[in-house]
Symmetry: C2
Subunit: 405 residues, 2 copies
């Protein structure tokens, strides 16, 4: 016997959770399409050289790399921005720019799982490629805020910064990554680490950044958002210490937070005007954001924004004997033809009690009972499992009732 | 510069194709849920021992196996039946039986790509676990035929057989795999290979199988399908040579064909009453089917059953100057709030011609033009890109028109 187990950091989603995920994906997709983003899918496996060196040294260690059966060096998708950049370079002749796409696929990272991090998780990205207009940056933020409002959140804030602010202070990548930990490790520790990383002026640097003004680009983004009715300091906020971990960002960066949610940002992204050039040989400006799907689900759970049904099934059609089987199956077919999610109890002739208990355990809200008596009268009994009431109805009446419930 | 390329056997799906895939997935999901199948998701990576030895020797060679960073032997999902079997064993305390689930996820096989086969492809499965009732076999077939009808096909036939027929003839696994190639290599070649595989009675064997009668189980499945209005020899057919390649099937097997479609079966499955026992220590009967998503898309393409729009976007809002920008963005927000998929032209002040050309190249059906004159009058110009007509409307009138178009 083989022990049934999942790998550490990997998860099964049983129906109740899988349903919630489908619900959220459906909502997200609607908003993304509403903003004119088209779907894109890329492979789970890429050539290793496509992935290596794009995210920074620390990230390279988290890549799932291996040799395939043909001895090629390959790696599992680590994010959706690098595959998008490859796609833009590879199909540049057939993609009208700006190219706006969304992508909702799993990514894999060999993370330390002790921090509640997962090694396989879903990312939901929107990106706009081929324009350096601040309007694209603002639209990315607008679409993100709209998505979270559509999901039912009322307390999201987008933090904004511009990486070029750090250039004026000659910050190295290593120093930017230290700065990025400010929320987690606190100011004193950041200063200590910055000094260790060669910034003896760390204390002064922190003061200079704290007093920084938004760049020209950020000012335009902020102006556009205000024009659209978003409130500064409430819906969005200039955050001069915001750094983001990945190497490829070039100017605007942003991160979505929710008041009272402790597990970090729910979405993050920015502008990466130099990444696509690594594949295409000429720079193509781009901006985008990735939604952390697991954290969204977790935050929605905390705010009671998710459906709670255990099953998609609305009604269980009981089956009581060989004689009434054909009638039960016909009832099920009728209900299904009206798009009512219907399960048939598949063991012919089980006791009523057993069938009701099954519906109860599965959380199916209604059960249809159709014995020889009901078949003779051309009716069924519809049992409401919640209030335990029961009524005699024709199948058409059942359809009307379930469609309106 | 890194050459932008996909691995052989792996595919990008650009918006036009990705849209088609989403459309089909949406339809399939609806039918699956209508039959009371709940969603399930399992990880892309499993312990290698979970996968090895379940599919047969030939399949084992096609597994993507590697050592992860923690030196564990892991493998990519090869199908969805083995992960389901692991899930049922792992969570048996919390899953009421029968457990009915659907699963729509990619699988990976290191196939020879020269036959037009892919190394990454989507599978769509339904399975019913925990009952050996022939009603479950019949329902699997009913749901499959209903799915294909819902997608618009009118010429599907389900081939049925029972593996126990082969047991009565003492066929080995190797001999069953030879038999499975009958459609591809023809009767003479099958007989030749069977003789080489130790069946000197191959010719007689073929005659015996040709004259075989459906088993008791198959007869009950057939009776149920007929009761539900399915026509024998049209919607389904007893096919005594049908074998299926995988090791794990124990009795009923089935395969869906479409008249005139040359690339093989579109769905295949059967009953596997001994697979879950390999994980749980006690046998749990199960039956299911996997839909070959790529072939479905290909066949739907041939039958013109797929949407043909290039983009999800219904209207492009042009942007003409800094002065009218706020009005254009407000128009876009109004349209989006009515769930009209709206793209804003993101480069402030581009020439009208350039903006129309962009809409045309992207296949966006309508363009909104809103210059200083229109802003002053409180209207917009709506241009129909197909018939090149143009009319002056309020934003509310645009909403009404686009919602009804």
């Amino acid at each position: 016997m083989i022990k049934p187990q999942t790998l550490k950091g990997f998860r099964d989603f049983l129906p109740k959770d899988a349903k919630k995920r489908q619900f959220v994906i459906g909502k997200i997709r609607e908003v993304f399409e509403c903003f004119g983003f088209d779907p894109l899918e890329t492979p789970a496996l890429e050539y290793a050289e496509t992935l290596l060196g794009k995210y920074g040294n620390e990230a390279d260690k988290l890549l799932y790399l291996f040799k395939d059966n043909g001895d090629r060096n390959v790696g599992l998708r680590y994010d959706q921005t690098v595959p998008l950049s490859r796609v833009v370079a590879q199909y540049q002749q057939q993609l009208p720019l700006p190219f706006k796409r969304y992508q909702i696929q799993p990514v894999w990272r060999a993370e330390n799982t002790q921090k509640g991090r997962f090694r396989e998780f879903l990312q939901c990205d929107i990106d706009t490629v081929g324009t350096d207009s601040p309007l694209a940056d603002a639209e990315t933020i607008d679409c993100t805020l709209t998505t979270f409002r559509t999901l039912g959140f009322s307390n999201t804030t987008m933090l904004l910064n511009d990486r070029t602010l750090f250039d004026t202070q000659n910050l190295t990548k290593q120093q930017i990554i230290i700065l990025d930990k400010l929320d987690k490790i606190g100011k004193d520790e950041v200063i200590k680490q910055l000094i260790a990383a060669g910034r003896s002026d760390a204390e002064n640097l922190m003061e200079v950044l704290a007093a920084a003004k938004p760049t020209d680009r950020l000012s335009q983004v902020i102006e556009t958002l205000k024009n659209q009715g978003y409130k500064q300091e409430v819906d969005f906020r200039f955050a001069p210490f915001l750094a983001r971990g990945l190497d490829y960002y070039t100017s605007t960066i942003f991160e979505l937070t929710i008041a009272g949610y402790g597990s970090g940002s729910l979405a993050g992204g920015g502008r990466y005007d130099k990444l696509i050039g690594q594949f295409s040989g000429r720079d193509v400006p781009a901006v985008g954001i990735a939604f952390g799907f697991d954290r969204m689900i977790e935050a929605m759970e905390e705010h009671n924004l998710l459906p709670t049904e255990d099953t998609v099934t609305q009604v269980l059609v009981g089956v009581f004997s060989q004689e009434t089987l054909a009638a039960s199956l016909a009832t099920a077919s009728s209900l299904r033809s009206k798009a009512i999610n219907t399960e048939v109890f598949l063991e012919n002739g089980a006791k009523l009690d057993k069938q009701l208990k099954y519906a109860d355990r599965k959380g199916i809200p209604f059960v249809i009972i159709q014995g020889p008596e009901e078949v003779a009268k051309g009716v069924v009994k519809l049992k409401d499992m919640k209030n335990q009431s029961q009524e005699e109805l024709t199948v058409n009446q059942v359809v009307a009732k379930l469609l309106s419930s």
